[in-house]
Symmetry: C2
Subunit: 292 residues, 2 copies
């Protein structure tokens, strides 16, 4: 009664045996509403330009870091949350201002402060400072690559490339959900995420590839259709990996959602788990292909 | 009797109960011998040029990472040692080849592999991957800044600046040891490192400042004497911090030395603990002053 409330079924009120599925459907309106807010915020910031994109990513990074450290505290660790959150917010800002050099400098400084902290406070353990580093870097540094993608090409083309990256993640998630909940039969990774199916994964993969097909049509972007499809496929797989990583972090902490900021989705970290890894891999691939 | 040994005064050989201090002096010839090997190797590599310096730092990073992970395993953690060591070795190499951009790319890739590893192996915990990241970054990434200092100015001037950084750490250690063991009265941080005294710290600080005084005399280096003295003082403090950080890591694992590769000194990590932080702070200061 206290913790694990399921909820009434959304529109179709038929009785169902499986609890997760019922929850999922009962949450659908809320899920769609908060998903729409998230989507609109992202698209608006992307459209308005590099600065708003940077601010958005900084806020998202800070929220993810906050949720990450919260889960770590639940697991019994003592990360230096405030420090980690501040650095997670700073990474996208430095990515915008000074690119890689400043981001590296920030990592150096974070390590220096962690060393100082570790020496000063006798109760802090290596695991605490390591987890603090991991949280800031996994959320802030990784998401900064989205800023680097956005700023890699000036003008609207940069925004369009960033849009492809972002939309591919959204479509990957949505297609996986839609295909999986309708045709899902073969469990993908029952141990980590019992609701995922191979069918859903393939649906998401196709969606991601489809979105990346837009890339060759963006002005100032010189990639072939095959390259775009390969990048879409890689991002599809990597998006799943990001999702599973976050699921495992949650399982480790014994929580169902990373946070509560997005009704129906859970926390911000739940929502952008795929984007974290997809941004970085996209950045890497676009850099290697000479697009950025 | 067990823990907090003081030691015989340098030449005066009166009998004392304390074991660590006795050990320290009985080790002196070994200590000097292996210290000399280390010193000569470092100076030779610095003299021979950027490539040999990079190779040296890569080897030192790998050894430090190895010793770090060994201590973590003793503490009951399960870092992915081989991965961390490989990345610790790669950091200085990428610093040499591509500078900061590649180093950042390497961090991205390390995070990606760690996420994959975490998803694949159910027994791996967040703390394990966090500690793996910390080990590689704290040794490899931090020591890479020494390579960046060396390569920041072309030709012999770059070598000379790197020499100042390195020698200042050695002199800091030696002066602290010499002054501390002769005049040390006031304990500095009894909880972490019982043998350290304020007198020794100030001796080391003076030594570090003295060495940095050489900086304004290096061709193509435009710093004032005051700037050099300030940098020397900062490096003196930071060197102590690096030393204490490593001491705390050792205490956490319950080991006396990080390793055994340097007879009389312990492990490589024991020897370069100060250099790790001093390299990075020197790099930062020299960069800010426009020297690099």
């Amino acid at each position: 009664m206290a913790d694990d409330g399921r909820g009434k079924a959304g529109s179709a009120g038929s009785a169902r045996a499986s609890k997760p599925a019922k929850k999922r459907f009962s949450d659908l309106p809320k899920r769609i509403a908060s998903g729409a807010v998230y989507l609109i915020a992202f698209l608006a910031c992307l459209y308005m330009g590099p600065i708003s994109t940077m601010v958005l990513i900084a806020v998202v990074s800070g929220l993810c870091a906050y949720e990450f450290y919260r889960m770590m505290r639940i697991s019994g660790l003592m990360p230096i949350s405030v420090l980690g959150i501040v650095f997670a917010i700073c990474y996208p800002i430095t990515a915008f201002i000074g690119g890689q050099t400043l981001m590296l400098g920030l990592t150096f400084i974070l390590l220096g402060i962690l060393a100082l902290w570790y020496v000063i406070y006798p109760r802090v353990r290596v695991t605490d400072i390591s987890v603090t580093l991991f949280g800031a870097v996994y959320t802030g540094l990784m998401l900064s690559s989205f800023v680097l993608v956005r700023d890699g090409i000036t003008g609207y083309s940069g925004g369009a490339v960033a849009l492809v990256v972002f939309v591919s993640v959204v479509i990957n998630d949505s297609f996986a959900y839609l295909v999986g909940s309708r045709f899902g039969r073969h469990k993908l990774v029952p141990r980590i995420s019992p609701n995922k199916s191979w069918e859903g994964f393939l649906g998401g993969l196709a969606g991601s590839m489809l979105v990346w097909l837009a890339l060759p049509f963006i002005p100032a972007v010189d990639v072939s259709v095959v390259e775009a499809l390969v990048m879409g496929a890689v991002c599809g797989v990597v998006g799943l990996l990001g999702d599973l990583t976050e699921s495992r972090i949650k399982r480790g902490a014994g929580v169902k959602d990373a946070g509560t900021i997005m009704p129906g989705h859970g926390g911000m970290f739940d929502r952008v788990d795929s984007l974290i890894l997809v941004s970085f891999v996209s950045y890497l691939m676009l850099k290697l292909l000479g697009v950025l």
